[in-house]
Amino acid sequence: MLSVFQVPKPVKAIFDKFPLETYPPVQKCDDATAYKQEERTFYLASTRGSQQLPNETFKLGVYNVFEEPNSKCILASDPWCLFTQLALCKKNDLKLCSKDSVKNASRQHSICILSQSAALNSRLPILVEGSSKRNVRSTESINEILNSRVSDPERIMYMCLLDTTVYDCWVSQVLLRTSNVRFLEIYYDKPHQSKALEKFEMINCKVSLMKRNNFYLRHSEIFKNIKSATFYNSRNVDNLVNSLFTSCEKVLSQFQELLGSDAFFLKGIVPTYLDIKIASYIVCILNLEDGNPLHEHVLQNCGSLIRHAEEVIKYFAS
């Protein structure tokens, strides 16, 4: 039935003739843009060999990367980003690349250094899926998917414990017990153009980092302290950070006990998501600067966890 709003077919036919001539798309090649993208992209090696369709590839957006000294692999500098990186490697049978091999890897899946502003909620990691059919997944959405892959309640409980106690300690340490230079190396990649701008950017970055995983709700005093920069200095902050550190120490020693002399947790033969999660925290803690209390503690008291983390990275290294 013909609707009033329906365009009559003859009119539509005439209309469809426009444009009378269609040229190919305007070339988008830009050397500088290509250089910048290449500089910030690190490809992951596929073990499957077969080429995947462009819309089946992904890019993982992370804050920054570093070279792990033992395996020489390029790893994300933030524990949640690293967990996602390793989890994606596990799911897609991918291998981590070193700086030398990264450029020779098949150019399909990759991790990219992005600004936190690339995410709708200013939190990384983000997962950019597809090429022409694009979907950008948020940190929360990635977590939801990855957590849904774990069905064992015991493992779920351990992962939740890590994502609260150890996570809170990690965040408090990078916010308050890490030098600005190191913080920027972990959560910011660009060379800094001005000291004043650097300070503003760092505060923005710290604020959005605190909003991830609801840290700011659990520790509002620390949040207020950071957000107001120099205007509000709570004397309780030191006590709060120390208390988080003590809890974290306890949890890490409990995980050491749980691991015992096994290669992986809960008698696993290959790394599970729980192994990946613990390893992500340990690797990132070891990447903190010398003198950081958490770094020193792990180095001195968590030998088994360090060995475990090395095993996990070795498993995914090409």
Partner: protein, 495 residues
């Protein structure tokens, strides 16, 4: 009895109708008579001025009333720069206009009225004049000079003003608040605070101070914060701008603006379908740039010109980054009675040279963007040029042009209204030249233009121009964002 009364009524009505129609006619005749008299007076005065335009004059004294709000030195500088320069009747008239224009536009007064009186003439020997001004064969004679006394009544400006309001249109809306403190220290100094919150411009705050340094040059400094949507990204700009601009009579001289801008820019992705290009553009950056704009404007109206030319050349040097130049040329001409038919043409072009063309990409907001109802019609805003997925990347070289024909409505009743019929042809090309030679760049720009045509109606309101067009693209690139059918536009400048 009844028939007699109805006849009387009819007669009364006929008489009153006749009287009222004769009254109407009388009023029309009176109006025509007044207009004729006025025209005669204007013609008489114009004749006198044209005949006596070269008559030498000298302003022997100027009486200024209500000058309390202006510093004496400032007032003196305006009088010296304008009517103080006049040496004949023609110049006196022009400089009187200049005085009015400058004092009002520089915010010293709301308006002013000037009365010119004469105290007769006086004679000076021609030999007293500078030798270059002495006409041949007049040596030894005397020159009659009209002695002028100027009386100026100033109408002081309202120092404080506050405005609030809302703007709604094209699926967008905003609310604004504006405070102004004008003529703050008696020299035309102006403080402005603007705050806007809306859908397209998410928020905008501006604190501005302007001060005329001389009647012709204005100093300005502004501090601003602005958040707006650009494509699928949100741009948060915070910056300072320091400028020096000329305000010469626009019909005669070129006007310049030189400014230095320091900008802190944050780019944020606003979509879950962002392209790689946009994702890598996100983040903060700093830009310092030095800009110069040259403009020559002889148009009778900037929003809807019927006659005149416009030229604008702008250059921007972003320190350590790029050099950007853009040229806009426009011409309007009208024919027939009351500018019945008007033709307008505009051509724009631009080029950016990136100083680090292989390593540091340009920010997409620094690039050129084409398309939209105010630009190349029949294409979406930022609809032309290179694209990455759905995001416009902008280009570093472009050309766009438009030819428009306007006609008043061919119905006598609406002939004098602000409405015009409109037909147009637009075209343009936006590219990433990617460091090819200028010759190759020009040859690329010269081919494969996206073009469109259409007809519509426009409303040329003094504040802004409104357009409703029916448009079709004639040629387009496969990734261009085309808009077929009706397109609505509102703005101050159109292609």
């Amino acid at each position: 009895m009844d028939s007699i009364s109805s006849d009387e009524e009819l007669e009364t009505r006929i008489v009153s109708e006749a009287r009222s129609s004769s009254k109407q006619k009388k009023t029309d005749i009176e109006l025509k008579h007044q207009k004729l008299l006025q025209d005669q007076q204007v013609k008489y005065v114009t004749d006198i001025f044209s005949k006596k335009s070269n008559t030498p004059v000298q302003i022997s004294s100027i009486i200024v009333n209500n000058s309390q709000g202006i510093r004496p030195a400032v007032l003196q500088s305006y009088l010296d720069a304008t009517i103080g320069q006049a040496v004949n009747v023609k110049q006196l008239c022009e400089q009187s206009d200049s005085l009015y224009y400058k004092m009002v536009s520089n915010g010293l007064v709301e308006s002013l009225t000037q009365t010119l009186d004469s105290r007769g003439t006086f004679h000076i020997p021609i030999s007293n004049l500078p030798s270059t001004m002495i006409p041949f064969g007049t040596y030894g004679k005397t020159l009659s000079i009209v002695d002028i006394v100027s009386t100026i009544d100033l109408h002081p400006i309202k120092k404080f003003s506050a405005k609030t309001g809302t703007n709604i249109g094209n699926g967008e809306g905003d609310g604004y608040l504006q405070f102004q403190w004008r003529n703050a220290f008696g020299g035309g100094e102006k403080f402005t605070f603007d705050a806007t919150k809306g859908t397209k411009t998410h928020s905008s705050y501006l604190l501005e101070y302007t001060q005329p340094l001389t009647p012709w040059w204005i100093w300005g400094s502004a501090l601003y914060k602005n958040s707006r949507q650009m494509g699928q990204a949100e741009l948060l700009l915070r910056g300072i701008k320091i400028s020096l601009k000329s305000a010469f009579y626009k019909n005669k001289d070129f006007n310049h603006e030189i400014y230095f801008e320091n900008l802190w820019r944050s780019t944020k992705a606003m979509s879950t379908h962002s392209s790689d290009y946009l994702l890598f553009q996100c983040g903060d950056d700093l830009k310092s740039s030095l800009c110069h704009t040259l403009a020559w404007d002889t148009r009778d109206n900037a929003i809807f010109p019927c006659e005149g030319n416009y030229l604008r050349l702008s250059n921007e040097l972003a320190l350590g980054r790029y050099w950007k130049t853009a040229l806009e040329v426009s011409k309007a001409k009208s024919w027939f009675n009351n500018n019945f038919l008007t033709m307008s043409t505009t051509t724009k072009c631009g080029y950016i040279q990136n100083f680090h063309s292989h390593t540091i990409p340009l920010h997409f907001s620094d690039k050129f963007h084409c398309g939209g109802s105010n630009d190349v019609r029949s294409f979406q805003l930022m609809g032309l040029g290179p694209k990455d997925l759905f995001d416009s990347m902008g280009g570093d070289a472009f050309v766009s042009y438009g030819v428009s024909a306007f006609s008043r409505l061919p119905i006598k009743r609406w002939e004098d209204s602000h409405f015009r019929l409109h037909a147009f042809f637009n075209g343009g090309r936006l590219i990433n030249h990617n460091n090819v030679s200028l010759k190759n760049c020009i040859s690329t720009l010269a081919t494969q233009h996206s073009t469109s045509t259409g007809i519509g109606i426009i409303f040329a309101h003094p504040v802004a121009r409104f357009e409703l067009n029916f448009t079709v693209p004639l040629t387009a690139h496969s990734r261009d964002s085309v808009r077929k059918g009706f397109q609505y536009g509102i703005g101050l400048s159109f292609l």
